[in-house]
């Protein structure tokens, strides 16, 4: 779980009841195989994006207006500056909001924001704005770097960045303290700005872990840009199916799912006992555990997609990248189930602390008096919600995989080709439910 020594994550969710976990698992299994027989037989997702209904004129104009874009960028800069106040000048104590802002409001808060509005971090990213401003001052085109962005790079830098962040969040010693957070963010900012100078602002699209994270989740938003740039209302499934395969995409998706699963595993009593009795510093079993869980998720994925490719008769080596988008809703469902109450409860606490980032007794935002309210969060309601989002994510993943399988595989072999994919998704979903039940 999150860094406890500094008071983050004081209360955690109860394990879900066994009946709820079982129900979710059976539903996932039944709906997957029912879907295989009943869904459409010609690929129909993503293509519809071209014809999606444009949003109202005023919203269209607002979204495209330079004044609006600059307001959002400046909001991102101001937010980052306010965050740095606590990070650089606040005392290193539990009353400092920095760790809560980074691990709860930013990392977890980006999930609902992206689910509603799309790739919001791309618009807010203060590093992108800094690069843009520096280029404007030097009268250079921000899109042009020292050299062109290599085609083969794809999402690999973002996958590496996401791994580095999840390692910081879940494993790094003293990860809630200011020097550790500050050092990590400084190194990350330098790496991102160097990438932008070298390859131009296009580097941020797939190189910045948080932009890629927000973009992956934002594919599920009901609003998005169609290929010609028009803002449209769309089916989230079309949005997700529009995620084009690129090198490193599989890695990015697998790190997202695997790291969250590791967070659950590391909370299980057997793991705590193992780490404490191993006698080694916790960072060694922690890092090993994180790598092993991600590797297991990856191995399952590569094995199942290779088998699907063989049974389905697809061109060798294509299935893994082409199907990566179908794992995203499963990962997002699990993320939401895992982090929902943390965001609600610790989010309130962090907003209250944010009013006094220097811990001098100030109340700059007027939220200093907030007390954490668990309004309506009964254990039964939370468990029900967790199982529901996991099953919804699973069903969306199944539908996406089905649709893509129809495009990848010849008709004759499309059904056998989907069997390994269904089993993979059921395995991910059941593992997720088991972790919520047991860990």
């Amino acid at each position: 779980m999150l860094p406890l020594a500094h008071g983050i994550g004081g209360r955690q969710d109860l394990p879900i009841p066994f009946a709820a976990a079982l129900t979710g698992a059976v539903l996932a299994l039944v709906l997957s195989f029912a879907g295989l027989g009943m869904l459409w037989t010609e690929p129909r997702l993503a293509g519809a994006l071209r014809y999606a209904r444009p949003v109202a004129r005023w919203l269209q104009d607002l979204g495209g207006a330079p004044a609006w874009r600059w307001s959002v960028r400046i909001a991102g800069l101001l937010g980052a500056a306010y965050f740095c106040l606590g990070l650089l000048f606040g005392p290193d104590r539990a009353a400092n909001p920095t760790a809560g802002v980074l691990y709860v409001l930013f990392w977890v808060g980006l999930i609902p924001l992206s689910l509603l509005f799309g790739p919001v971090w791309r618009a807010l990213n203060p590093l992108r704005t800094l690069h843009l401003l520096a280029c404007a001052a030097l009268r250079r085109d921000p899109r042009r770097g020292v050299r062109p962005l290599p085609e083969g790079l794809g999402y690999r830098p973002a996958a590496a960045g996401l791994f580095a962040f999840t390692w910081l969040e879940l494993v790094a010693p003293e990860r809630a303290t200011l020097p550790v957070i500050g050092a990590w963010l400084a190194a990350y900012s330098v790496a991102m700005l160097a990438g932008a100078v070298l390859f131009g602002s296009g580097w941020f699209d797939k190189g910045d872990a948080f932009e890629a994270y927000s973009d992956l989740i934002g594919r599920l938003a009901p609003i998005g840009r169609n290929p010609d740039g028009t803002l449209t209302w769309r089916n989230p499934l079309d949005g997700m199916a529009g995620l084009a395969p690129a090198p490193g995409l599989t890695g990015l998706v697998v790190v997202l799912l695997g790291s969250t699963m590791y967070d659950s595993v590391s909370n299980a009593p057997f793991w705590v006992r193992f780490v404490q009795e191993s006698g080694t510093p916790a960072v060694i079993p922690g890092t090993t555990g994180l790598v092993v869980v991600i590797a297991a998720v990856l191995a399952a994925y590569l094995g199942a997609t290779a088998l699907a490719g063989r049974w389905g008769g697809a061109a060798p080596g294509r299935t893994a990248g082409e199907l990566a988008h179908s794992i995203v809703p499963i990962a997002v469902g699990y993320l939401v189930a895992h982090y929902f109450t943390l965001l609600v409860l610790e989010g309130q606490r962090t907003v209250s602390l944010l009013s006094d980032p220097l811990v001098i007794g100030a109340d700059w935002l007027g939220t200093g008096g907030w007390t954490v309210s668990a309004a309506g969060l009964s254990p039964a309601a939370v468990a029900m919600f967790q199982v529901t989002v996991i099953v919804v994510g699973h069903v969306m993943g199944t539908v996406l995989a089905h649709d893509r399988a129809l495009a990848l595989f010849p008709r004759r072999t499309a059904v056998p080709g989907q069997i390994p994919l269904l089993l993979l998704m059921v395995a991910y979903t059941v593992t997720g439910l088991l972790l919520l039940f047991a860990a």
Partner: protein, 128 residues
């Protein structure tokens, strides 16, 4: 046409099954949320010993009912501080001297109990 009808039938069957399953889960959930009879239980006594960084009994989960009084006694071989997260109850530990924290578990959830200096998890308190 026939095939279409068969599909509709199996779709309806799957939906019914799903609804039935969801219903059963909802019922299971309601039972779990029923409030514990206040004051009916005795206080839960939990004793933990720390020696050479080894926690006895080994870290696990201890369940108590919401509203129950919890009394935790920790004996450590080095000076440290024991802390119950979420409830924010702490006790200073002096070498060899048992220290006790007592509180009413009024909030449901899972709470880690640990020491701050040696950073050992003693157990997880599960309040239902």
């Amino acid at each position: 046409m026939k095939r279409f009808a068969a599909r509709i039938r199996s779709l309806a069957a799957a939906t019914l099954l799903g609804a039935a399953l969801l219903g059963s889960a909802a019922c299971g959930g309601t039972d779990a949320a029923a409030p514990a009879p206040a004051g009916a239980q005795q206080a839960k006594e939990i004793a933990v010993t720390i020696k050479d960084r080894k926690v006895t009994p080994p870290p696990g989960r201890i369940e108590v009912a919401k509203g129950q009084t919890v009394r935790i006694t920790v004996t450590s071989d080095v000076a440290d501080q024991a802390h119950v997260h979420g409830y924010d109850k702490a006790a200073d530990l002096r070498p060899g001297t048992p220290a006790t924290v007592e509180f009413v578990a009024g909030q449901t959830g899972l709470f880690e109990v640990e020491t701050h200096e040696q950073e050992l998890q003693l157990f997880q308190l599960v309040v239902r």
